[in-house]
């Protein structure tokens, strides 16, 4: 498939599902919004922020997944591999623990601060080195630490309601998010995605190994800073408003890799588009289910993503013996 065809298809698909998302009400199925003020209010104040947020988070997760898999030369890497996104979750949960969710932007802000703290710890842990193995291990350590801290917060929750809030939040959702949230994350997401996207030409070179990449003018240290800071800002901001959404960042690059000639550089942009497409779809699905307890988006992506991923791996292994 040619690149322009791939990008066009994904863009058209994304616009189509975003339109569907704008027309989808909770448990109401597809309805064309009327022109009366109530319908207009629902459209602009509820469905639009929700749709945009789903698209932004999907784009960030898809792009970060593609960049991290290319950089670490590991198809199992996902946006959470550096431990930065779980630090972001920890920041948000801590804000809830201390009862700061009365102000709507406090939790997201704490999430972004958590992500930046995570980035700082990662860079400090790694020191002067920039070897891939050390980075992955430092990420694993940070992941373990922040997950334990999050569990501790849940464990010590002042009351069952606070605990329920935190748990639901951790499962990820685009519900009840306003345009205010979008404005809050706009800048970090923009800077983060720019940092990540600018790395794409270097990703192909990284496929030749660290030493050869160095000999071709790529500084491992600079790449580490770009990836770390880009992930902290973009993924951290998304996690801080939408919670933890698993699997999207892992699966999307896998799906597209055969369509981009296995060149990590060509995978970055399509992954962002497909990630957005996937999460908007998942969010439409969540709302189309019969009313009652709403399924959280993170639960849906993992529930559908897991089995699908297994199928994909078996299928790919048969078709492409090389990977």
């Amino acid at each position: 498939m040619s690149r322009s065809l791939l990008l066009t298809t994904l863009t058209m698909g994304l616009l189509a599902v975003m339109a569907v998302s704008l027309m989808t009400g909770r448990g109401a199925g597809l309805t064309w919004p009327g022109w009366d003020w109530q319908s207009q209010l629902i459209l602009w104040e509820i469905r639009l922020p929700r749709t945009l947020l789903a698209a932004i988070c999907g784009a960030v997760l898809g792009m970060a997944g593609a960049v991290l898999q290319g950089w670490l030369r590991n198809p199992l890497a996902d946006p959470g591999v550096l431990g930065i996104s779980s630090m972001s979750a920890l920041g948000a949960v801590m804000a809830m623990y201390f009862g700061l969710f009365t102000v709507s932007w406090m939790v997201p802000l704490a999430g972004i601060l958590g992500a930046i703290a995570g980035f700082w710890i990662l860079i400090t842990l790694i020191g002067k080195e920039s070897g891939i193995l050390l980075i992955v291990l430092a990420g694993a350590a940070l992941n373990a630490f922040s997950s334990a801290m999050t569990a501790l917060m849940l464990n010590l929750a002042p009351n069952p309601f606070a605990m329920q809030d935190m748990l639901f939040w951790l499962m990820g959702s685009f519900e009840h998010r306003s345009l205010e949230h979008l404005w809050l994350i706009a800048l970090p997401v923009l800077i983060g995605m720019t940092l990540l996207y600018r790395l794409s030409p270097a990703l192909d070179v990284m496929a030749l190994g660290e030493d050869t990449a160095h000999s071709l003018g790529i500084s491992g240290r600079r790449v580490l800073w770009s990836v770390g800071l880009g992930t902290a800002l973009a993924v951290g901001a998304c996690v801080s408003v939408a919670g933890v959404i698993s699997f999207a960042g892992l699966v999307v690059p896998h799906l597209l890799r055969p369509l981009t000639q296995w060149q990590p550089r060509l995978l970055v942009l399509p992954s962002a588009l497909a990630g957005a497409l996937l999460l908007v779809c998942a969010d439409v699905l969540v709302r189309m289910l019969p009313p009652g307890q709403e399924l959280r988006i993170g639960v849906v992506t993992a529930l559908l993503g897991g089995p699908f991923f297994l199928w994909l791996l078996r299928h790919v292994r048969r078709a492409e013996v090389e990977l």
């Binding site: 030369r73 030409p201 270097a202 192909d204 070179v205 496929a207 030749l208 190994g209 030493d211 050869t212 160095h214 000999s215 071709l216 003018g217 790529i218 500084s219 000639q261 296995w262 060149q263 990590p264 492409e320 090389e322 990977l323």
Partner: protein, 260 residues
Amino acid sequence: MSRNRELLLNNASFGYRGAPVIADATLRFREGCVTAILGSNGSGKSTLMKGILGLADCLNGQISLDGRDLRQLSDMERARTLAYLEQQADCHWPMPVEKVVELGRYPYRHHRLPAQDLQAIDRAMDIADVKAMAGRKVSQLSGGERTRVMLARALAVDAPILLADEPVAGLDPQHQLSVMQHLRSWSSDGRIVLVVLHDLNLALKYCDESVLVTPDRQLISGPTAQVVNEENVRRAFGVRSLVGSHEGQPYILPWDVESC
């Protein structure tokens, strides 16, 4: 461009984390010359190359090209000056062969001249004899074919200095000879070529100069015919050899492990 470029190591020590592997190396590599780096496993041949590249720490001394300190160069300038073929180089993803070779042009991406890029890629693929593989994925190639693709990638940089770490490992005799032949003609275009080799006869046949690293980390350098002799080979590898010559060309055959 200046005439008669030379790469000079002046009292240079290379190592990792402050511990020297190569100590006080003073070596001169001239343009138009292929220099073999020889020595037993773990003697520091690769470290010598990595030190020049800035991959191993330079603990003291200078590395200069035409009087210009190599460590003063920016990352991209250095990348355009030194091409490096890593030992057992490989490409992680199953990318198309020509896309891998194209990566050698990465150091020029800010001032791209498409015609020059294409010419360099074309010539590199010609020399490494990988044109017939264009369109295939690197993962579908045999080990030796992949080595040649990686060599083409390094040649595509079109840098004045080429550092090749065991470029003929795993190649069949025909390709070993033809790669060495091509490295020789590559150097005669006014380039400096350094090759880590294990085959002493390829060094004798194709390399004008040699640097032999002994187990006690002494460097013996000079014209290959003088460096690769029975006595030095015994000292460096602990083997006794048979020596001979064919049409005036010396050859050496490691024959027996020396018993202590």
